[in-house]
Symmetry: C2
Subunit: 203 residues, 2 copies
DNA sequence: CCTACCGATCGGTAGG
DNA sequence: CCTACCGATCGGTAGG
């Protein structure tokens, strides 16, 4: 992996953990093992590095979307895969979820634009399938399609972003072993999937 | 209002908007109209100010809990008030929701402790009522009570924390007037309440 | 509560 | 003249 990618990977991890303002260029450089100026050679400013990190996440999102839509919209039986696909995408790299959760709080205006440009077409398409499901009585008539999809996305992102913290609270806060913690996390994700499915399907 | 409260109020607003690391003591002092050193007279460190802000939110939460539990658990008809009560509490002061959403990301260990100490007894009590509802067939048998309540809390906090951003994305990103924006926000909160109710009640 | 400061560290740029 | 960096240091500001 070249320097530029290594720097972006380290920044992703640190921004996800401590937030943009909580990370210095020096700490990113140290974690890669280069001088701070090397970092500023590849990215002209800290802000440019932030955009590169975010863009890398969104690029992965855009690459994954077609297959996700295929899984969600091919046949009624597969439609409930909506939440599973989202959970799988974000749980595959929890830093992705944490970066987006932070971006939503830190940069509401930029994120607003990203939501409208990258996410809205996808939301509208899934909403169209929900409306078809409502016509044939498969989906509850009182579901607000666009609002529902957005709630599912937000719930998946924030749940995965805070899953370790939440799972510990759920299991009582004691020092559980890794096996036990992973089981509690899986149980919590299973309830998320059950909730979003039950809130959607009439039968 | 005394200086100490004014400082805490200004810090709450700024921490909620920019995050703890994104706010300098000087910027808090400026927004109150005092010297930075005045602030350090009332709160010995930035970290002490952070704890005071968080403690003030939790104090309000603990004061509100008894009435909320009363509303939620008195009779089956009122049980669905769970989400409404939570939405009302956090929507009444959105900085509360944003502070908790940030705290969850920034200080997972401290927040873990707070969740276990302040929230878990409440979650266990509500879960007990859910289990009674399951026995009489009022509530879906496959609901995971503790996990469900935790999901509702997280969903309400993050939805209210990001409601302005989300509502703009939902209405298309154009420059909607204040009236239109508030309507979209209410519509989105209504779907949240519908989702959590439908995911719970069998009939 | 304020004036006057501190050790250190911030994001960013210089020449080579 | 280019690339991929380095050691040193810029003007300002951080928390205390």
């Amino acid at each position: 992996m070249d320097s530029s990618s290594q720097i972006r990977a380290a920044a992703s991890r640190l921004f996800a953990t401590h937030g943009y303002e909580g990370v210095s260029l020096q700490s990113i450089a140290d974690s890669v093992g280069v001088a701070k100026q090397t970092l500023l050679y590849h990215y002209p400013s800290k802000e440019a590095l932030r955009r590169a990190v975010l863009e890398h996440v969104l690029e992965h999102w855009r690459r994954t979307l077609p297959a996700m839509l295929q899984a969600v919209t091919s046949g009624h039986g597969r439609f409930q895969a909506l939440t599973e696909e989202l959970v799988s995408f974000f749980d595959g790299d929890r830093d992705r979820a944490r970066l987006l959760a932070r971006e939503l709080l830190d940069n509401p205006n930029d994120t607003k634009r990203l939501l409208v440009e990258s996410l809205r077409p996808w939301i509208l398409l899934v909403s169209e399938y929900i409306r078809e499901g409502q016509k044939i009585g498969l989906i509850h008539a009182d579901v607000d399609p666009e609002s529902y999809v957005l709630h599912v996305v937000i719930l998946v992102i924030t749940t995965v972003a805070n899953l370790t913290t939440i799972a510990t609270a759920l299991s009582g806060g004691g020092q559980a072993d890794a096996q036990n913690r992973r089981e509690t996390e899986q149980r919590h994700l299973a309830e998320l999937i059950r909730m979003t499915r039950t809130a959607l399907f009439a039968r």
